[in-house]
C-alpha cells in the first residue's frame, strides 16, 4: 500500500482551528481587550502618571478636568491610582496562579500516577486543606507569613495547590490507564519521564483552562485580601486596598474614591472569566 498523503481534512492543525474559533467569540474578544488594556496600564501606566504624588492640601477633590477621577485623602490623583493600581494585582495574581498551577500540577501528577498509599495519604491531606474555604486558608497563610507581595503570591499559590492537584489528579487518572503509558513503561521509562513527558503534555488543555479559571480567582482573592488589609500594603495603589481604605468615605459623598477602583476590579475579573470561558469552550 502506498501512502496517498495526509488526509486533507486532518491537515489543519487543531491549534489553528481553535484560535479561529476563539476569534469568532465576541465575549472572548471583549475579555481579551479589557485584559490587554489593563496589562498595558500595568506596563506603561507609571510612565504616564504618578500614583504616589500627593497634593495633600487638595484632598478628596471631586472629579474635574484636572483630576478625572478626583483625588483621594492624600490628594493623590485617583485616575493615576486606578491606572497604576493594575500593576501589582497583575503581577501578583498571575504569579500566584502560576505557582499554584505548578505546585498543584506536580502534586496532582504524583497523586494520580501513584495510586495506593501515596495517593491515599496525599489525598487526605489535600482533602483536609480543601475543607477550609480558600479565603480563610489564604488569610491564615498571610497571618503566618506576614503581608508582602511575595507572601501574597505564596499564600494564594499554596491555597490553589490542592484544588489544582485534584483537577490534575483526575486528569492523570484517566491518562495513566491509556495504552501509551503502558507502551512507555514497556520500554522502561522512569516514573518521572512518564509523568513529565508522557502524561503532562496530554493534560495541558485542562491545566490551561484551570489556569485561566484560577487567574480569575487569584485576582478576586488578591483584591479581597487587600480589602481585608492583609494583602497588598500601602502605598500600593491597589484597587482592593483603595476600596478598603476609602469605603467608609462614600457615606460622606466621596464616591469617586471607591467607584473607579470597584469598576476596575469588576472589569478585570469579568474579563478574565470571559477569556477563561472562551478557552474552556474551545478546549472541549
Amino acid at each position: 500500500m502506498s501512502a496517498v498523503g495526509l488526509p486533507a481534512a486532518r491537515r489543519t492543525t487543531l491549534g489553528f482551528e481553535r484560535l479561529r474559533l476563539l476569534l469568532r467569540s465576541p465575549a472572548f474578544l471583549v475579555g481579551l481587550g479589557i485584559i490587554l488594556f489593563w496589562v498595558s496600564c500595568a506596563l506603561f501606566g507609571r510612565l504616564l502618571v504618578d500614583p504616589l504624588a500627593d497634593d495633600i492640601l487638595n484632598s478628596l477633590a471631586p472629579p474635574s478636568a484636572e483630576h478625572w477621577f478626583g483625588t483621594d485623602e492624600l490628594g493623590r490623583d485617583m485616575f493615576a491610582r486606578v491606572i497604576a493600581g493594575s500593576r501589582d494585582i497583575l503581577v501578583v495574581a498571575p504569579l500566584a496562579t502560576l505557582l499554584g498551577i505548578a505546585l498543584g500540577t506536580a502534586l496532582g501528577l504524583v497523586m494520580g500516577f501513584f495510586p495506593g498509599w501515596v495517593d491515599d495519604v496525599l489525598s487526605r491531606i489535600v482533602e483536609a486543606v480543601l475543607a477550609l474555604p480558600l479565603l480563610i486558608l489564604a488569610l491564615l497563610a498571610l497571618t503566618a507569613l506576614g503581608a508582602s507581595n511575595a507572601t501574597v503570591v505564596a499564600a494564594i499559590g499554596l491555597s490553589f495547590m490542592p484544588i489544582v492537584a485534584r483537577t490534575v489528579r483526575a486528569a492523570v487518572m484517566t491518562e495513566r490507564n491509556l495504552d501509551y503509558v503502558a507502551a512507555a513503561r514497556l520500554r522502561g521509562e522512569s516514573a518521572l519521564h512518564l509523568m513529565g513527558f508522557e502524561i503532562l503534555p496530554n493534560i495541558l488543555p485542562p491545566i490551561v483552562v484551570e489556569l485561566t479559571v484560577r487567574l480569575g480567582y487569584a485576582i478576586f482573592t488578591v483584591a479581597t485580601l487587600s480589602f481585608l488589609g492583609v494583602g497588598l500594603q500601602p502605598p500600593s495603589p491597589d484597587w482592593g486596598l483603595a476600596i478598603s481604605e476609602n469605603y467608609a468615605l462614600i457615606g460622606g459623598g466621596y464616591w469617586w474614591t471607591v467607584l473607579f477602583d470597584a469598576l476596575a476590579i469588576a472589569s478585570l475579573v469579568i474579563a478574565v472569566n470571559l477569556v477563561a470561558d472562551g478557552l474552556a469552550e474551545v478546549a472541549e
Binding site: 500500500m1 502506498s2 501512502a3 496517498v4 498523503g5 495526509l6 488526509p7 486533507a8 481534512a9 486532518r10 491537515r11 487543531l14 482551528e17 479561529r20 474559533l21 469568532r24 491509556l178 495504552d179 501509551y180 503502558a182 507502551a183 512507555a184 513503561r185 514497556l186 520500554r187 522502561g188 521509562e189 508522557e198 503534555p201 496530554n202 495541558l204
Partner: protein, 681 residues
C-alpha cells in the same frame, strides 16, 4: 465464493403489498455544521423498506450510516440538518410532522435500538419503570403498565424479569441491557425498528443471542427493520436487503444474498476481499486490501466517490459521478463499470511471504507453567488466572480467545511484566526467567500492539518522537543511526516519511496502528503481544494490518500472542489457539485442530456464535451470564452454562487439561469422541 443462505427473510411475508413502505427515504441530504462550516454527511440517499422488510445499511466508519438512522427518527444532533429529501415512515413524512404527530409516530410506529445500551438507559430509573413508561404512554394505568412490562421482559428472555424490574441499568450486563432496550423498542407493535449497531461491544456469544432475539420478535410482530452495521456477517444474517454506504452515498444495493455473492461495485468487492475467510491462512495467501483512505462525504471528490481508491477508475470516473444504475432483480450499483467490478485487480499481492521453516520442534520461546494470578478486591481474593500452562515457539502465532472477563488481557499484562503474577508462577523467555517490568533485563524482547491505536500513541508527541524514543530506549540507538533505523522501520510498516512530523491525531486509525507496530519492532522483539489489534479498525484497514503483521513475522521470525474475539481473524493469523474461560485454559492446540474439533464445549459455542459471512453453522446456544471470578463455580467452571454437561462430575470435579492428539489438549470430562466437531467443511 460460497454465499449466504436464508434469502427469504422479510420480503417473503405475505399480504404486505398494499401497505405503504415501512420506510422510504428519498434524495436525503444531511449536513452538520462543524465549527461554523456546513459539512455534508449524506448525499442523495434513497432507501425503501417494505412493510415487514429488513434492510441492512453497511459501511465503514464515517460513511454516514448512523446519521441515516437518526434522520429516520428525526433526531439529528443539534448541529445536523436535513437539507433535502423526504423520509416517509409508514407513509408519513417525518421531516414535516408537527411535534404532537411526531410524538405519536414515535410512540406507535417507529422505535430504535442503540449502539450502547448502557447509555441508552436512564441510570437513575429502575428498569421496570423505564419499560412500563411506554405502556403508560400507550394509555395503560400504572398496574397494567407494570404487568405488561413484566411480560415484555419475559418475551426478551430475561430470566427472573420480576427482579430485573427492580434493578438499575448498571446492575445488568451489557447483553441484558440490550435486551431491555429491545423490550422497549418492541414493547408495542411497530412498523419499523431501527437498529444502530446493536451488538457492537458485545461478546460474540451474546451478540448471537441478541440477534436471534431481534429476529424472533421481528417475525412475530411483522416489524420492518433498518439495521445499521459495519459487520457484513451480521448484516447477512439479519437482512434480506443490503445497502452499501460509502462517503455518504449508497454505492450498491440489492438482496443481501446476491450482493454478497456477486458484488457489482468495486468497493463492495474490495470490502469482501478484505475479510479473512475460512480456509484462508496467512502462510498461504494474503488478504486483499483497498488502497487509500476512507473519505467522508465532505472530503469526497467530485466524480465517483470511490474513484481515488478504485483499481478500475478511469477519467470518466473522476469527472462524472455515476448514478445508481439499476441492474435488475432489485439490484443497483453506483458504478460506471459495474460489470467489471468482480474483476477488480488485487491491490495487495496474493503471494504470501516466504514462510519460515516449520519450527514446531524448536524449544519454546516462551514457556509459562503453573501461572496463577490472584488479586484482591476489597477483602476478597479473586483468581483471575489459574494454573495456566502454555508455550509459544519462535516464529509462531498463538491465538488467545475467550469472552470478556476470561483473563486474556491479564495474561497479556503478566507476560509484558505490567502485572506481577502469584509467586509460584513460572515464566521463561528463551529459558530465562521473565521478571516483572522493573527488573526485566531485555525490555525489547516482549512488546505489545494495543487494541486502540488512539490511546496507544501519545497524542502530544509527533510520530517521529514516538518511534525515536522507542529506538533510543529499546535499541539503544542515537543520532544518525537512530534516524536511519527509524526510516527503515517506518518504511517497513509502509508509513510515508512525511508522517514522522505529524501528530497522531492527523493520522487515520490504520496509520496509527502501523506506528504502534513500528514502535513494537523498534528493538529486536522476540514476542509481540497483539491485543485485539484490529478490532477498532474498519474491515479494509484490518486486512492491511493483518498482512503487515504476517509480513513482519515472516521477515523477522517474531512470535505473536494474538488476542482477539473475532474467530475468523484468529483462525487466519494463528498457528495454535488457546481458549480461556474464567481464567482457566479450556483448550489449546494447533489452529486447524481447534477449529476442526473435537472442540471443548465452550469452544464449540464460540465457533457457532460466529459463523462468518459465508458459513452457516448450527447455533449452539449459551445460557446465562459468565459467572463472577470472585465466586467461580465449583468443579468445571463452565458447568453452569455447558450445553454438554454430563452429570454431577462436572459440578464437583474440575477436569484436567488432557492431551488429545497432535498437541491438542482439552479440559473436559467428555471423551474426544463425544465432543463436537466442525459441521461445515
Amino acid at each position: 465464493m460460497t454465499l449466504l443462505a436464508e434469502a427469504d427473510r422479510g420480503s417473503g411475508v405475505s399480504g404486505t403489498a398494499l401497505r405503504p413502505d415501512a420506510l422510504r427515504i428519498s434524495g436525503l441530504d444531511v449536513s452538520y455544521r462543524v465549527r461554523g462550516r456546513s459539512r455534508p454527511v449524506l448525499r442523495g440517499l434513497d432507501i425503501a423498506i417494505p412493510a415487514g422488510g429488513t434492510f441492512g445499511l453497511v459501511g465503514e466508519s464515517g460513511c454516514g450510516k448512523s446519521t441515516a438512522a437518526m434522520a429516520a427518527m428525526r433526531y439529528l444532533p443539534r448541529n445536523g440538518r436535513t437539507d433535502a429529501g423526504r423520509i416517509l415512515v409508514g407513509g408519513r413524512d417525518v421531516t414535516a410532522l408537527p411535534a404532537a404527530a411526531l410524538r405519536d409516530l414515535r410512540r406507535h410506529s417507529v422505535s430504535m435500538v442503540y449502539q450502547d445500551p448502557g447509555r441508552a438507559l436512564n441510570p437513575t430509573i429502575r428498569i421496570g419503570a423505564q419499560v412500563a413508561e411506554i405502556y403508560g404512554l400507550d394509555g395503560a394505568g400504572p398496574e397494567e403498565a407494570r404487568a405488561r412490562a413484566l411480560a415484555m421482559l419475559g418475551r426478551v428472555r430475561i430470566a427472573d424479569p420480576a427482579s430485573v424490574m427492580e434493578r438499575y441499568p448498571h446492575q445488568l450486563s451489557g447483553g441484558m441491557q440490550q435486551r431491555v432496550v429491545i423490550a422497549m423498542a418492541l414493547a408495542v407493535r411497530r412498523e419499523l425498528i431501527v437498529l444502530d449497531e446493536p451488538t457492537t461491544g458485545l461478546d460474540a456469544t451474546v451478540e448471537a443471542e441478541v440477534l436471534d432475539l431481534v429476529e424472533t420478535l421481528r417475525r412475530e410482530n411483522g416489524t420492518a427493520v433498518l439495521f445499521i452495521g459495519h459487520n457484513l456477517e451480521v448484516i447477512a444474517r439479519m437482512c434480506a436487503e443490503v445497502g452499501v454506504l460509502y462517503a455518504g452515498r449508497l454505492v450498491e444495493q440489492g438482496p443481501t444474498r446476491a450482493v454478497l455473492a456477486n458484488p457489482r461495485h468495486p468497493y463492495t468487492v474490495g470490502l469482501l476481499r478484505c475479510l479473512p475467510r475460512r480456509g484462508l491462512d496467512r502462510r498461504r495467501e494474503r488478504l486483499d486490501t483497498i488502497p487509500g483512505f476512507l473519505p467522508t462525504a465532505a472530503t469526497a471528490p467530485a466524480g465517483c466517490v470511490f474513484a481515488p481508491r478504485c483499481g478500475l477508475a478511469r477519467d470518466v470516473c473522476r469527472a462524472d459521478p455515476p448514478p445508481l444504475i439499476p441492474l435488475g432483480d432489485g439490484r443497483s450499483s453506483r458504478c460506471h463499470f459495474h460489470a467489471e467490478a468482480p474483476h477488480l485487480p488485487r491491490n495487495a499481492p496474493a503471494q504470501a511471504p516466504a514462510a519460515p521453516a516449520d519450527r514446531a520442534a524448536d524449544a519454546p520461546l516462551l514457556a509459562v507453567t503453573g501461572l496463577n494470578m490472584t488479586f484482591r478486591q476489597g477483602r476478597q481474593a479473586v483468581q483471575a488466572l489459574r494454573d495456566i500452562d502454555l508455550s509459544v515457539r519462535p516464529g509462531e502465532t498463538l491465538g488467545l480467545v475467550g469472552e470478556s472477563g476470561s483473563g486474556k488481557s491479564t495474561l497479556a499484562r503478566i507476560l509484558l511484566g505490567l502485572t506481577v503474577p502469584d509467586a509460584d508462577s513460572r515464566l521463561a523467555l528463551d529459558g530465562e526467567a521473565l521478571l516483572p517490568l522493573g527488573r526485566r533485563r531485555d525490555l525489547a524482547a516482549i512488546q505489545m500492539v494495543f487494541q486502540n491505536p488512539d490511546s496507544a500513541l501519545n497524542r502530544a508527541h509527533p510520530i517521529g518522537r514516538i518511534i525515536g524514543r522507542a529506538l533510543a530506549k529499546l535499541a539503544g540507538l542515537g543520532g544518525a543511526a537512530r534516524r536511519e533505523r527509524m526510516l527503515a522501520l517506518t518504511r517497513g510498516v509502509q508509513l510515508a516519511d512525511a508522517y514522522l512530523a505529524a501528530k497522531p491525531r492527523q493520522l487515520s486509525g490504520g496509520l496509527k496502528q502501523r506506528v504502534a507496530i513500528a514502535r513494537a519492532f523498534a528493538g529486536r522483539p522476540r514476542l509481540i503481544v497483539c491485543d485485539e489489534p484490529t478490532s477498532a479498525l474498519d474491515v479494509s484497514v484490518q486486512a492491511a494490518i493483518l498482512n503487515l503483521l504476517a509480513d513482519l513475522q515472516a521477515e523477522q521470525g517474531v512470535s505473536y500472542l494474538f488476542i482477539s474475539h473475532d474467530l475468523a481473524v484468529v483462525r487466519y493469523v494463528s498457528d495454535r489457539i488457546a481458549v480461556l474461560y474464567l481464567g482457566r485454559l479450556m483448550e489449546i492446540g494447533p489452529a486447524d485442530r481447534v477449529f476442526a474439533g473435537p472442540h471443548h464445549p465452550y469452544t464449540e459455542v464460540l465457533l457457532s456464535a460466529s459463523p462468518g459471512p459465508d458459513g452457516a453453522v448450527k447455533r449452539v446456544p449459551l445460557s446465562g451470564e459468565i459467572p463472577s471470578a470472585v465466586d467461580p463455580p465449583s468443579g468445571c467452571v463452565f458447568h453452569t452454562r455447558c450445553p454438554r454437561r454430563i452429570g454431577p462430575i462436572c459440578d464437583t470435579e474440575e477436569p484436567p487439561l488432557s492431551p488429545r492428539q497432535d498437541g491438542h489438549a482439552i479440559r473436559c470430562h467428555l471423551d474426544s469422541a463425544d465432543l463436537g466437531r466442525e459441521t461445515a467443511p
